[in-house]
């Protein structure tokens, strides 16, 4: 807070409106940010935060409204102008070229080249660029290996590269879009330190987020946006997390999920010391063991890239299991086909609903039968029964309240929340013994999240087993009965959910416990 210079308004956005066709993403939004401030933009998914920042960064042209930078009215028609005005943006999905090195990514668009007198040869001067990047990272305490390829470094490192990219262009104003989504609690702590040190050196930071705790920890001021409209700007120290949440959603929010008190039952899925390779032929899952009981939600906590995706693909038969066994209800299902595994009773809400979960160019009705098109009554022999397929779709649309109520609607025309409803409806109707839910609420708004959580708990309450894999620690802690922490392809600890706290989990997720064990050994 002591870094703020209230006499200087570095950003003033006045009456910003942005329309995509008939859809109003931003509706007459005002935003003022002072020099040295950490300003949070809070809102649900799809509220219009990122759109507003894309307008500021010149990726979108506003339909209406004015922008002032340091008191000067500006027309930001492309990112070049934003960069020139000292604005840098770190996007939620990193804008990094995987095959390029750190240096190449940082200098892209502002390349260091060999000059001979007045003649710019256009020849890249990687040596000098490396030196510049090293100096910059020393100055701001953002250490990276300049010659490493992006695909080989951690997500936390990639984020540093993104921040360095902006600083390299002389950014004084940094926009960070959901910067903590992929970080461990410890990495988040580090990021907050970096942000504070940057404002200490005169930078201004806007952070887009829907995580309330981080706002409380890091931000000075917070502007709340709901459905494209600005709701309020508040001084963070004056409000509680609950206040912020209510402003964001527009109603009372219940953070706690109601669960029946039931005893967990017998083991339904036994994963025994399995090894699964990733695309680079490395052991992504490396001797992982886990038991899943009836009537429980077992949450797998962990940072992205510790073998979660490969584990899911191994369990569902999409990726070969190199060694070890997967036993479902006493039957060995290791390396069976996806079809067989589905029929034996494992259903999955996949990680990436648009890639794995739905055929976007199929209608809802066609998507509902993805795993059962070859069964009665949806087909007889080789012939599809369109009447039954349609009837089935109508039933599910009613039961799960999918909008719009039109079974011929293509999946790609549905909102994210409704797409997820279609998947959940389909998977739950399989009546599986084990439901794997991978990142089931990613990108959904609060209403849809509540629906997903309710559906998972319902499964559990009916005595089914749920394996929940999520990067959202809050979600894991709120829903799970037991929490398993995955690190480097292994389960490093299993805790009772009511005994687990965030600090311990964060420590374990970062491999903390593993080192201790190694020391002991």
């Amino acid at each position: 807070m002591n870094n703020i210079d209230f006499s200087t308004k570095v950003i003033e956005m006045k009456g910003i409106t942005k329309k995509f066709g008939d859809f109003v993403a931003n509706d007459n939004i005002d935003l003022t940010v002072h020099k040295g401030e950490i300003h949070a933009l809070l809102g649900e998914n799809g509220a219009g935060k990122t759109t507003l920042m894309n307008v500021l960064y010149g990726l979108y042209l506003p339909t209406e409204g004015e922008i002032f930078i340091n008191g000067e009215k500006v027309q930001i028609t492309n990112p070049n102008i934003a960069i020139e005005k000292g604005i840098g943006m770190v996007h939620q999905h990193f804008m990094l070229v995987d095959k390029f090195t750190v240096v190449e990514n940082i200098i892209l668009g502002k390349e260091t080249t060999v000059k001979k007198g007045n003649w710019n040869t256009g020849h890249l001067d990687i040596k000098r660029a490396t030196k510049e990047v090293e100096e910059l990272s020393r100055k701001y305490g953002l250490y990276v290996d300049p010659n490493a390829k992006i695909e080989d470094i951690t997500v936390g490192m990639q984020q540093r590269v993104e921040i360095l990219k902006a600083l390299y262009r002389g950014a004084d104003i940094l926009i960070l879009d959901e910067p903590t989504a992929v970080l461990t609690p410890q990495e988040i702590e580090e990021l907050i330190q970096i942000m504070k040190s940057l404002t200490g050196q005169g930078k201004t930071i806007i952070i887009i987020t829907h995580k309330l705790r981080e706002i409380k920890q890091a931000a000075d001021y917070c502007t709340i946006i709901r459905r494209g409209k600005k709701i309020d700007t508040v001084k963070v120290s004056d409000v509680s997390e609950k206040d912020l949440a209510e402003k964001m959603v527009g109603r009372q929010v219940n953070f706690v999920v109601d669960k029946k008190d039931i005893e967990k039952g017998e083991v339904v899925l036994n994963i025994d010391n399995i090894v699964i390779k990733d695309n680079r032929d490395l052991n992504a899952v490396d001797g992982l063991s886990l038991e899943l009981h009836k009537g429980e939600i077992l949450g797998i906590a962990g940072v992205d890239g510790n073998g979660q995706s490969e584990l899911i693909e191994g369990l569902t038969g999409l990726r070969p299991v190199e060694s070890g066994k997967i036993i479902l209800n006493g039957e060995d299902i290791t390396n069976k086909t996806p079809k067989y595994i589905i029929e034996r009773g494992i259903s999955t809400i996949p990680e990436d609903r648009q890639r794995r979960g739905l055929v976007m160019d199929f209608s809802m009705a066609e998507n509902f039968i993805l795993e059962k098109y070859h069964k009665e009554p949806f087909s007889h022999g080789n012939k599809l029964n369109h009447d039954e397929i349609r009837k089935h779709a109508k039933e599910l649309i009613d039961k799960f309240d999918v909008r719009p109520r039109n079974e011929d609607q293509l999946a790609k025309a549905l909102s994210g929340g409704n797409q997820q409803k279609v998947i959940i409806a389909r998977e739950v109707t399989n009546d599986p013994d084990v439901l794997i839910a991978a990142q089931p609420t990613r990108g959904l708004d609060v209403g849809a999240i509540e629906f997903v959580h309710k559906s998972l708990v319902e499964q559990r309450d009916r005595g089914k087993a749920v394996l929940l894999i999520s990067f959202e620690l809050d979600e894991i802690m709120n829903l799970s009965d037991r929490i398993a922490v995955i690190f480097d392809g292994k389960i490093v600890a299993i805790l009772d959910a009511n005994k687990a706290d965030e600090k311990t989990l964060g420590y374990l997720m970062a491999g903390g416990g593993v080192d201790d064990e190694r020391k002991q050994a």
Partner: protein, 312 residues
């Protein structure tokens, strides 16, 4: 001695037939590294071959003809760029259109300029591409057979180096590859993605035009309907085979060239081998090599995907 000369003959013919493929494959390297698939190279090569032969015949200046051939390929590529870059067209479909337009225009204009014939008139020998090393070595000696090549052959190898240098050592090359890998990342850094793509696609047409002219001005001395038939596609295969790099593509083109060289050589001997079966060899070989080596190699990450700037 005789065996050495035979070897020289095979190498010489191989180089001559590899050169047109190298130009065109380099065009493929350019466009696909920027993320635009161009199966229209065949059509661009055809129009290059036609324009080269026509300008060569009427002007008597092979270099002017060569440049005009590149220009013609570039103009056709410009159409492809308009469709693929500006209008987010399906790149394969637009490429198919190019493959109708290129040969269509060539034959149409051939009939207009050459009294209804689908074949241009032959260029006199002294007005073909020059051979810079002609007369340096004793006639029909090994060195003569290998090195007494048309200038276009030497230029092809020079162009391999130039394209490699541009792609991997210069600012514009870094940008081309960035656009092919992650256009939005490039966009957020203020790089004009469309401009870079236009440049790469147009260059691909220019190179393919050169490739066509390397056939019609050097390897033979006129244009006819069957001159190119399929070489553009072969060059495309060579590019994939060469893992989207200029140097890799060059080796793949040389392989096709050698096969062609063998066909021509054996055709002139008494060895009883079906020329049809010989001609098949490079294609069979490519299939086998693709099976064993290239399977998992993928091209630029955003290759073939239209980039739309203002899209949420």
């Amino acid at each position: 001695m005789n065996a050495l000369n035979d070897l020289g003959l095979i190498i010489g013919i191989s180089l001559m037939y590899a050169a047109p493929l190298i130009y065109t494959a380099l065009g493929g390297v350019m466009t696909e590294n920027s993320g635009v698939v161009n199966i229209g190279l065949e059509g661009m090569m055809t129009i290059g071959a036609f324009i080269g032969a026509t300008v060569g015949y009427y002007s008597g200046n092979p270099w002017l003809a060569f440049l005009c051939a590149g220009l013609a390929g570039g103009v056709l590529a410009l159409l492809h760029a308009v469709a693929c870059v500006t209008f987010s067209a399906d790149q394969v479909v637009s490429g198919i259109a190019m493959n109708f337009l290129g040969p269509g225009l060539s034959l149409f204009l051939s009939r207009v300029f050459f009294e209804g014939a689908t074949m241009t008139k032959p260029i006199p020998l002294d007005q073909k591409m020059p051979r810079p090393l002609n007369g340096v070595f004793a006639q029909n000696s090994f060195l003569d057979l290998v090195f007494n090549q048309y200038a276009t052959v030497y230029l092809a190898f020079l162009l391999v180096f130039i394209v490699w240098y541009i792609l991997y050592k210069t600012k514009i090359g870094l940008r081309i590859r960035a656009v092919g890998e992650h256009p939005r990342a490039a966009d957020t850094l203020g790089i004009d993605v469309y401009k870079v793509k236009y440049l790469a696609v147009i260059l691909s047409g220019v190179f393919a035009g050169f490739g066509g002219a390397a056939m019609s001005l050097a390897a033979v001395s006129n244009f006819r309907a069957t001159l190119i038939s399929g070489q553009g596609f072969i060059a495309l295969a060579a590019m994939i085979f060469g893992k989207w790099t200029p140097q890799g593509s060059m080796w793949a083109c040389l392989l096709f060239g050698v096969a062609q060289g063998l066909v021509v050589y054996l055709g002139g001997t008494n060895i009883k081998v079906s020329s049809q079966l010989l001609a098949m060899i490079p294609y069979v070989l490519t299939l086998i090599i693709l099976m064993s080596f290239v399977g998992k190699v993928t091209g630029p990450a955003a290759n073939g995907v239209p980039y739309e700037k203002n899209k949420e």
